[in-house]
Each structure stands twice: as C-alpha cells, then as structure tokens.
C-alpha cells in the first residue's frame, strides 16, 4: 500500500466521519465545524486527483465564504444551542432505512455497471493553465454569464434579508 493510498483512506474516513457528524450532532455550530472538516477532506481528495486549482477554489469558496456565511447566520439566528428536538422516532427509523436503502441501491447499481478502467493519464488536466485555457475559450460565455448570476443572487440576498424599509 503506497502513501497515496494511505492518504486516500485517511481522507475518505475523515470525510465520512465528519459528514456523519454534520448529520448527527445536536449543536448547529458543531455541524458547521464538521462540515468544514468534510470540505477540507474533499479538498484533499481534489489534490490527490491532481486538481489543484479546484482544491484551492473549493477551500476559498466553501470553507472560506459559504461556511462563514453559515456560521454567521447561525450566530445571527441564535441557534448555537442544543435546541433542536428530535423527529418522531418512526420517522427517524424510516429516514435511516431510506438512506440506507438508497446507499445500497446506488452501490448495487454501480457495482453492476461496467466502468471503464482508467486509461488516459494526463497530469495536466487539473492545472490552472489548462483549466484557464478551457474556461476562457470554450466556456467564455457561461463564465461571463455567471457574473450576472452573482449579481442577481447578490441583489436577491440583500433584498430578502433587509428589514422592511418602510414602516
């Protein structure tokens, strides 16, 4: 077993555990923190997969921006305590069964599927240069349009979360 494999197993374990923590901790703040750990683990996977640029963006966007936003909202809504009661136990059981079944089916399906082995090896795929090239040639228009999306999201978020101006 090589180092990368060790790293892979470690990161996978970390991601799964922390994601379970997200689901099962009572405290919302702990959930957020666990989610950050998950994101870091996923970023590690990205690095393993030679996608350095995405790893960087992932850390910046998710861990840096989104999770801060979450934390901030939790703080603002004052939800940093174990206030959340459990769902009805039957419902919990059913949910777990549903989730488990989903897992089983998906895995079962994928097992049956014929996946092509990894053939082409190109370490340059995830580099900034390569991505930049694709992004600013083939995907130039969507890239530019996404700025409009951000603008819309920004206006929407501001409008929605502001106090009513009048009255």
């Amino acid at each position: 077993m090589s180092l990368t494999q060790y790293i892979f197993w470690f990161l996978s374990f970390l991601a799964l555990m922390s994601s379970l923590m997200v689901v099962f901790t009572k405290n919302a703040v702990y959930s957020v923190l666990s989610l950050i750990i998950t994101f870091f683990a996923i970023a590690g996977h990205y690095l393993l997969l030679n996608a350095q640029f995405l790893a960087a963006v992932h850390i910046i966007v998710y861990a840096g921006a989104i999770m801060v936003l979450f934390l901030y909202v939790i703080m603002m809504l004052n939800q940093n305590k174990d206030a959340e009661p459990n769902k009805h136990p039957y419902l919990m059981i059913i949910s777990v069964i549903a989730g488990g079944l989903l897992m089983l089916t998906l895995v079962g399906t994928i097992k049956g599927a014929e996946l092509p082995g990894s053939t082409i090896v190109d370490a340059q795929v995830g580099t900034i240069e390569k991505l930049g090239q694709v992004l600013f040639t083939d995907f130039l228009l969507p890239f530019e349009v996404s700025s409009i999306l951000f603008l819309a999201a920004m206006v929407g978020a501001v409008y929605l979360s502001k106090n009513k101006l009048q009255s």
């Binding site: 769902k87 419902l91 949910s95 549903a98 989730g99 079944l101 089916t105 998906l106 399906t109």
Partner: protein, 632 residues
C-alpha cells in the same frame, strides 16, 4: 267566385283587426257596428256563394297562399266550398250575425264590450276557416283557433277566477281532443301522403290504397277523439257545462250553435273514412247515445237555466253522433242546422231572461215571467217546442230522421234515443214552466227590475224563432214529403258529399214511429204541465235534496270530482314527486354527487400534502428508489 270565397273569412278578420287595434279610440257603439257589419258582409257573401252552390254541384277550391311546405309535405292555406261547407257557412254567419246583434244590447253596459266583439269576430273567422279549409291542417287552424277564442270568451270576466278555471278547463280538454286530431293527421299523412280532402276523398282513393282496415280504424278513432273534445262527448264533455261561465251570447254562439258542432262537421267531412270502418262507427254511436242519455239525465235535475241548456246541448250533440254512428250523415248535419237555430234561440231567450233578472240564473227564483217578457216568452216557447220535437217545428224533422235511421240500424239505439227525446221534452218544459208560468218567486227588487229586452235583442229572437219554426221544411222526410209534394231538399243537396243513407224502412213503420214519438212527447209535456203548473211544484233548495239518485244527478254524477281525483291531482302529485323526489335528489344529486366525490377524494389526497419538508424528502428518496428498482 274565388275572390268571394276568400272574402268570407276576411270580413270578420278585418273587423277584428280594426277593433283590436283601435280599441279605446272607438266608442262602444262604433265597435259594435263594425263587428256586426263584418259578420253581415260575410253572411251576404256566404249567401251568394251558397246560392251558386245550390245551382249545381261544383266544389270550388281556392288557394290563398302556401303555408307549410317541407319536402313532400305540402299544406297550403286553401279553401274548399262544397254543399257541406256552404251549409255550415250559412249557419255560422247567419246565426253569428243574429247573436252579434243580440250582444249589442246584452253587453252594452259592460266595460269590455270592444274586447267582446273583437273576440266574437275572431271566433267567426276561425270557425269559417275551420269549415272552409280544403285540408285537415287548415281545419286544424280553425279547430284550435275556435278553442282559443272560446278560452278567451269563457274567461271573459277574467277577474273571477272561477271563470278562468272554466276557460282553462275547456281549453285543456279540447287540447286532449286536439292531440287525437293531430295524431290522426300524422297517420293520414304517413299512410296516404296528403292531407287534402280532394285527394283523400276522391272516389276509390281509399279503397285502392293498400292501407289496412286496422290503420283506418285507428285514424278514424283518433279523429273521433278530436271530435269528442270539441263536441263535448263522453269522456271529455265536462268542460261544456262549465263553459257557461261566459256571457250568454257566447254560450249561444260557441257552445250551442257553432263550435261544438265542429266535431260533427269533421266526422261528416271524413265520412268516406268512417264508412270504411264499422268498428269506429259503432263506437261513435255508443258514445253518442251514452252522452245523450247522461246529458239528459243530468239536465232533468239542474236548476241553473244555462246549465239545463248546456246539458241539453251535450245531449243533443250525443244524438247527432248517434246519427253519424249509424251512417246517417245528412241527418246529423240536418240536426246541426235545426239545433243551431233553436238552441241559439233558447240561449238568447235565457240571456234575455237573465238580463231582465239582473244576472240571476236560478230558475227556482223565477216564475211568472210570461207577462213581463211577452216576446221572450213566445219565442222561448217556440224554441222549447222545437227542441222537444213537436211537428211541424224544425226539431221534429231532424230528430225524427235520426230516430228512424237509428231504428233501421238498431232497435235498442232507437229505444234509448226515444228515451232521450222524452227526457228532453220533460226537462225543457220543466225549465219553461218554472221560468215563465206560475208566480214570481224572486225578491222584490228583482220583480221591480223586470222588463222586456230592447228591440235589438228581441229581433234576433224573432228571426231565430221563425227559423226554428220553419227550417224543418228544407228536410222533410220522404214519407211526409211524398204526400205533400215536398222534396227532401237538404238530402239531395248534400248527397254528392255525404251520400244517401242506405237504410230503408217501410213507410208504414216510419209513420208509426213518428206517431208514437209525438204522442209520447205530448204526454210528457202534459205531465210536466201538470207537475209544474197545476201543482206548482218547485225544486227544493240544495240542502233539502232528497233521494240519492236525484242528488247524484244534481251533482252531475260527480264526474268532475272524479276527474279531479283521478287525473288532475295525481298529475300534480306525480309532478311534485318528479321534482322533489327525482329531479332534485336523484338527478341533480348525481351531478352534485360527482362534485362531492371529487371534492372528497381531493380532501383525502391533500392530507398527503403535510407541508413538512421532511416527509417530502423521504417520499422523494423512496420515489428515486422505486425508479431505480423499476428501470435498472
């Protein structure tokens, strides 16, 4: 000639239109004059036409305009003048004119006088259309039209709902008959492809057509149902006595002289068909004699002067149907003519009496009017004698003809007919004696008020009395005619249309029958005189009525009540049941039920929509699972 025929119904129509449109702008006398002139012109016109028909047999057909054309169905609005219709024309316009004249005096104090004359004119118009039509559909126009006018005139005093009820009853009962007529028309068209008399009754047409006797019987039966309604035969006779709610001239014109004889006219017109269907003929004579008997029996016990006359009309119409039933069409038409004269006379006479009595119609409070109303008395006497069948007045000849034909056909029919004549004589003289003889039994006010009617009312009485006295001579029976050198003009005039009666009885037998009837009738009259004049018997008041049969007959055998119980009320109940028991709960219930069902299902289904996103998520996942399981 053709123009003249077209003009006959046009005159009354024009005068109707003038009166109806001008209405209040005309003064009452103006309206009356216009109405009378309209009918008078029509009468003169009819007389000219009649005169030309007398010369020789030449039916005239006049097309006025195309009416209903649909594919091979073609009914034009056309007239036909032949001996049969010309006789009716004369009676309608002649008697009609006299009654118009009478009404001028009778109605002069009534607010609705203009209206009255308008309706009368319209009635004359429709009646003329009825007899002039050259096909069944035009007859039907007149048929329904006179029914409508009768409705308007019975309910003339519309403020009293009793009159309106009577009018409605008359109309609806007539409608029942009309349905029969309508179905008969459909049958005729279906089987023969035409409604024209000239086609249908052309010699040999019916015999050569491949239509079975059963169908013909059905046709004639349906026609007869129509006649039943219009001519007040059992079971549709009850409207006629009620129709006396209208003004008396109306009763004279519509419910005695003309409209009610439309049924006779119709059967006489279709005699070719009836002659081919002996079953219907038998039915006609049975219904006829039954009606005659029933009318006479009820007439014996009535105390309302107009009711007596009404039941007498029912009974006489029955006799006419007996004549039709035994195939003596001429006799029936002859009786129509004489009956028109003496019954109109009697009704107008009663109108004069009622006028003098200030609206009172109960003969129990009359009496001794002889001195106060001499002309009315005299003319009424002639009428009464005529209807009783005393020779040589008109009634004698026509009634005798019917009875002898009946005798030739069936002895029982004759016996019953004779019985009817005797009863007729009795109740008519009972009426006559109670009204005019003895001493006055009314209140003092009424006695003070008594007066003879003015000239314009008595003149029609006199003319009609003359007719009632002498009209019989146009149809003198052969046995008498041979001796006197008189020919039976009536029969020979009508024979091209109605044929000659085939039944022949020995001259000696006929003489005997005549003698027998006359003697019996005279005896009955004498008995009536004995009872009502010598013994001064007056019918007891309603509450003291004794004898169950008497009560039964006085109550008109409670046929109205029976009909009410058996037809009217159940119809209402059925209707109520249909609405409240079926329409609202069942049929609308089904509609509402479907709505409710959808709503109910939806309200169950919407429970799934909890609003809780957790549930949705679970459902979502399960749905994905299902998709996976089904598709992979």
């Amino acid at each position: 000639m053709e123009q003249l025929v077209k003009l006959i119904p046009l005159f009354p129509l024009i005068s109707f239109a003038i009166i109806a449109l001008m209405n209040r702008r005309l003064s009452k006398p103006q309206a009356a004059v216009i109405a009378c002139i309209g009918v008078l012109l029509s009468f003169i016109d009819s007389a000219v036409v009649f005169q030309s028909q007398l010369q020789s047999f030449h039916p005239v057909e006049v097309k006025v305009f195309d009416w209903i054309i649909a594919g091979n169905f073609n009914a034009s609005f056309s007239f036909l003048v032949d001996p049969l219709s010309s006789i009716f024309l004369m009676v309608i316009t002649g008697v009609g004119f006299l009654i118009h004249l009478f009404s001028v005096g009778y109605m002069k104090d009534d607010d609705g006088m203009r209206r009255f004359f308008a309706y009368l004119n319209l009635f004359i118009f429709f009646m003329l259309v009825l007899v002039l039509g050259n096909n069944f559909l035009v007859m039907f126009i007149g048929w329904e039209g006179v029914g409508f006018c009768s409705f308007m005139l019975i309910g003339f005093w519309y403020k009293d709902n009793k009159n309106n009820d009577a009018a409605k009853k008359a109309f609806v009962m007539n409608r029942i008959g009309d349905l029969g007529f309508l179905i008969a028309m459909c049958l005729i068209f279906f089987n023969f492809g035409s409604l024209n008399y000239s086609t249908l009754f052309s010699p040999g047409f019916l015999a050569e057509s491949s239509v079975s006797t059963e169908t013909l019987t059905l046709i004639t039966f349906c026609l007869f149902v129509g006649a039943m309604g219009k001519s007040a035969q059992i079971p549709l006779y009850t409207w006629l006595p009620d129709a006396m709610a209208g003004p008396t001239p109306v009763s004279a014109l519509i419910h005695a002289a003309t409209m009610v004889t439309a049924g006779i006219y119709m059967v006489a017109r279709t005699n070719v068909m009836f002659s081919l269907t002996p079953d219907t003929m038998t039915l006609v004579s049975i219904i006829g004699i039954a009606t005659a008997l029933l009318g006479a029996v009820i007439g014996l016990f009535q105390n309302d002067i107009k009711k007596v006359l009404a039941y007498s009309t029912v009974s006489q119409l029955g006799l006419m149907f007996v004549a039709l039933g035994v195939g003596a069409y001429t006799a029936a038409v002859f009786h129509v003519v004489t009956h028109a004269f003496f019954k109109a006379l009697l009704f107008l006479g009663s109108g004069s009496v009622i006028h003098a009595m200030g609206g009172e119609q109960d003969i129990r409070v009359m009496g001794g009017l002889k001195k106060k109303l001499p002309i009315t008395y005299l003319t009424f006497l002639i009428g009464t004698l005529a209807i009783s069948g005393i020779p040589p007045l008109a009634g004698f000849f026509s009634k005798d003809q019917i009875l002898s034909e009946a005798f030739a056909h069936n002895k029982i029919l004759f016996a019953l007919g004779l019985l009817v004549s005797l009863m007729t004589a009795f109740y008519m003289f009972r009426l006559f004696f109670l009204t005019f003889h003895g001493s006055f039994r009314g209140t003092h006010d009424q006695e003070h008020h008594l007066h003879e009617s003015p000239m314009n009312m008595t003149l029609p009485l006199i003319v009609l009395a003359v007719c009632a006295a002498f009209a019989g001579f146009i149809g003198v029976p052969h046995v008498i005619g041979e001796g006197l050198g008189l020919h039976n003009l009536f029969e020979s005039y009508l024979s091209p249309v109605l044929g000659v009666s085939s039944s022949h009885i020995e001259a000696s037998v006929e003489w005997m029958l005549m003698g027998l009837t006359t003697v019996l009738i005279v005896m009955v009259i004498l008995y009536a005189r004995h009872l009502f004049v010598s013994k001064n018997y007056v019918p007891e008041s309603d509450s003291h009525m004794k004898g169950s049969f008497k009560k039964l007959a006085y109550g008109k055998f409670y046929v109205d009540e029976f009909y009410n119980k058996v037809f009217t009320q159940p119809l209402d109940k059925i209707s109520l049941f249909l609405e409240k028991g079926i329409d609202i709960p069942v049929i609308d219930g089904m509609v509402r039920g479907i709505g409710k069902l959808t709503q109910g299902l939806a309200s169950i289904a919407r429970k799934i929509q909890t609003g809780n996103t957790g549930y949705y998520a679970i459902a979502f996942v399960f749905a994905i699972l299902l998709l996976f399981i089904f598709f992979i």
